[in-house]
């Protein structure tokens, strides 16, 4: 894949110097900071409401580190993935529509390197953002609560990263296929919704990528979790999407 290294350098620079840095890593950081804080402050807020509200009965358990971690994973699984799907709708088509791809691909940069570089750079950004966010979340949680399942949370975030990178590969494929970024984002939301639906059925949840988020939550709770097969299929789906994206992009006119 000729030209991959300089193209990756360009992608990283672009991430740092443009809006891209703000979206997914921004959401990750927001989730990492807000989850322990919201969990910690929630009883106080509810107490304020409940004591003043006639006829309102509120029973609040003391917040725990486990709740903070579950809140964090919940945010990663919804808010951040949603932002990922929206942000990366134009990951390939944006450059093609904008005309920058024509100048870049007229140089000895292979189409495979272009597509792979797009995915790889953003995969590293998402993974690094998740790792950094998780460290912040764990540190803040340790500060606000007693010891919690930090190790299990790290494992669950690892599974979330795999799931997010698969969705990123799906977005790369959609962005190659659909010329309009908004259309790719819309289709990506459809894929995300379909995975949420598939997660509701035991058969599909235990054998497809759809089961990975629930497996992560189960791991944090310390419950038995089926994550091996969903992880394998997640990696397989991601690889298949990338291969398909490369093959389709090689035939595409710029």
């Amino acid at each position: 894949m000729s030209g991959l290294v300089p193209f990756l350098r360009k992608e990283f620079s672009e991430t740092v110097r443009t809006w891209r840095l703000w979206v997914v890593p921004g959401f990750l950081l927001f989730s990492a900071l807000s989850s322990p804080l919201v969990t910690y402050l929630m009883p106080t807020l509810l107490d304020q409401l409940g004591t003043a509200q006639q006829g309102l009965s509120i029973t609040v358990a003391d917040p725990t580190a486990l709740q903070a971690y579950l809140e964090y994973l919940g945010n990663l699984g919804q808010l951040t993935l949603f932002a990922l799907v929206i942000a990366y709708g134009g990951i390939v088509s944006g450059e093609v529509r904008g005309g920058t791809a024509a100048l870049t691909l007229a140089k000895p940069l292979s189409r495979a390197a272009f597509v792979t570089g797009k995915w790889l750079s953003q995969a590293l950004v998402v993974a690094a953002g998740a790792a950094f966010g998780t460290l912040i979340c764990i540190a803040l949680t340790q500060l606000l609560f007693e010891d919690g399942p930090a190790g299990r949370t790290v494992l669950a975030v690892g599974l979330w990263i795999a799931y997010a990178l698969m969705l990123l590969a799906v977005m790369v494929l959609l962005s190659v296929e659909l010329k309009a970024p908004a259309a790719a984002s819309g289709a990506g939301i459809g894929v995300y919704a379909a995975l949420v639906v598939l997660a509701q059925f035991e058969a599909t949840s235990g054998a497809t990528p759809a089961g990975l988020p629930a497996a992560g939550l189960a791991i944090v709770r310390g419950e038995p979790a089926q994550w091996a097969l969903p992880l394998v299929t997640t990696v397989a789906v991601a690889a298949a999407c990338l291969v398909a994206a490369v093959l389709r992009f090689e035939r595409r006119e710029i």
Binding site: K10, T18, V23, A52, A102, E253
Partner: protein
């Protein structure tokens, strides 16, 4: 509305759901004023941010939206309230600072003296990287000297096949877009080292041809070779020896000119000192040295010059330029044409345009394309003379109508039209015969001859004749 009832994951909260208007809720229950104030402030901030973001999104042109599309940002703002508008306002709007063009005069970066000194140092650097003696005196404006150093420093020498064969060879190339035929059996051959004008009206197939040569589009049929290399099947080795400038070059707006040139050079495998020297030399050549503004703020002329510079960064053996002067003002056009002319004898330039004066100024060979086919291909002088001695005689007599009638049936006659000052403009296939017979005809008709001369047709006349002939 104030809504309670959202459950925290695994928090064990049991909550009787209630939904009350805030005012009613406060009046009825006497909720803590601090909490109400907080909620009101939060609500106001949320609504304010959303309104600000939506109004800005509505008013802002798509070109000034990061990512180029409004819809994802709209979805983000609407669905992720508070966070979505903050993200859009912080990162979605593109702020571009207009750049000062040194060649437009004014600033110190544009001063001739400053450019001359910097240019000298740079060219020496490029020459040194290529182990050739540095030139003794260099002017910034001396594009040919920069080009000398650039191409002398080029590592790879032409291979035998490429040196002896055509630089570009297209044979029976066909390309369609649905029912529309863009290229209809296009065949042409570009001599190595020439500046080759690829001339045609809008929609003739020029851009399609260049996109195929640059590897951005695929021919449906036919053979396409660049310097002996087959372009079909990816053509990465062919792309390694070309420099390409599309009609509207688009750069990464967040980069500066040196950053883009560095990126372009690194894709061609350049690195270290050689890359540094070439970047500096190309900035000098393009008149962009000292410009540190992002490319997003560049004028069209600056972008076009940067486009030529990025195409030259690796010392290409074939330079593909798609209408490089079409949207430039006269000064920008002169700059770009000077840069192209400086490549003569150093590399092959394949240059599409519909501006005939540009072709006459810099090209030595020309092909005229119409409806996806080459209708003429030769040197410019040869093209002019081959059209006929396509020459035009200008004759003024006291009664032009009688002469017009008398010309009917002349075997050498092609067309007759009235000139602006009453003279007749006679286009003929055999100018010698016309020169002999026309004055004799005037004598036989008893007319008074006031003026008689031969006008050589310019390229525009030839072009109109060729393209018009194809359309007939």
């Amino acid at each position: 509305m104030l809504t309670a009832g959202a459950a925290v994951h695994g928090s064990g909260v049991t909550l009787v759901e209630t939904t009350l208007p805030i005012a009613t809720h406060v009046a009825a229950t006497g909720t803590s004023p601090a909490l109400v104030a907080l909620l009101v402030v939060l609500g106001a901030v949320e609504v304010g941010l959303l309104a600000w973001a939506l109004v800005d999104l509505y008013r802002r042109p798509s070109a000034q939206i990061n990512g180029g599309s409004k819809i994802p940002w709209l979805i983000l703002c609407l669905l992720l309230q508070i966070i979505g508008p903050i993200v859009y306002l912080a990162a979605g709007r593109e702020r571009v600072k207009p750049a000062h063009d040194p060649l437009a005069g004014g600033g110190p970066a544009g001063s001739a003296a400053g450019r001359a000194v910097a240019g000298g140092a740079t060219v020496a650097g490029v020459a040194a990287a290529g182990a050739v003696p540095p030139p003794l005196a260099v002017q910034r404006a001396d594009a040919a000297t920069v080009a000398d150093a650039l191409f002398a420093a080029r590592g790879a020498e032409p291979d035998g096949a490429a040196a002896s064969g055509p630089a570009v060879e297209l044979r029976d190339v066909r390309k369609t877009f649905g029912d529309a035929v863009a290229l209809d059996g296009l065949t042409l051959s570009v001599p190595p080292g020439s500046i080759y004008g690829f001339l045609g009206p809008n929609g003739a197939g020029k851009t399609t041809t260049l996109r195929i040569l640059a590897g951005l589009a695929h021919a449906d049929a036919g053979a396409v070779r660049i310097l002996g290399r087959d372009v079909a099947g990816g053509g990465a080795d062919a792309r390694a020896v070309i420099g390409f400038l599309p009609d509207v070059p688009a750069f990464y707006k967040w980069m500066t000119a040196p950053e883009y040139l560095r990126f372009a050079g690194s894709l061609f495998g350049l690195s270290g000192r050689e890359l540094d020297d070439r970047v500096t030399a190309m900035l000098e050549l393009a008149g962009l040295a000292g410009v540190r503004t992002r490319v997003g703020g560049f004028s069209r002329g600056m972008k076009q010059r940067l486009g030529v510079a990025q195409a030259l960064i690796h010392g290409p053996r074939l330079l593909l330029l798609d209408e490089p002067t079409s949207a430039l003002d006269p000064i920008g056009r002169r700059d770009v044409l000077d840069m192209i002319a400086s490549m003569r004898g150093r590399t092959t330039v394949f240059f599409s345009t519909h501006i005939l004066s540009d072709v006459e100024r810099v090209c030595d060979t020309v092909a005229v394309i119409a409806r996806g086919r080459v209708v003429a291909q030769s040197g410019i002088d040869e093209l002019r003379s081959r059209r006929g001695g396509l020459n035009r005689l200008s004759i003024e007599v006291d009664d032009p109508r009688r002469l017009w009638e008398g010309l009917a049936g002349a075997p050498w006659l092609r067309t007759v039209e009235a000139g602006e000052s009453g003279e007749l403009l006679v286009t003929c296939d055999d100018v010698g015969a016309a020169q002999r017979e026309l004055p004799a005809l005037v004598g036989r008709l008893g007319l008074a001859l006031r003026r008689f001369g031969v006008d050589e047709l310019d390229l525009e006349d030839v072009f109109v004749d060729l393209v018009g002939e194809d359309r007939r």
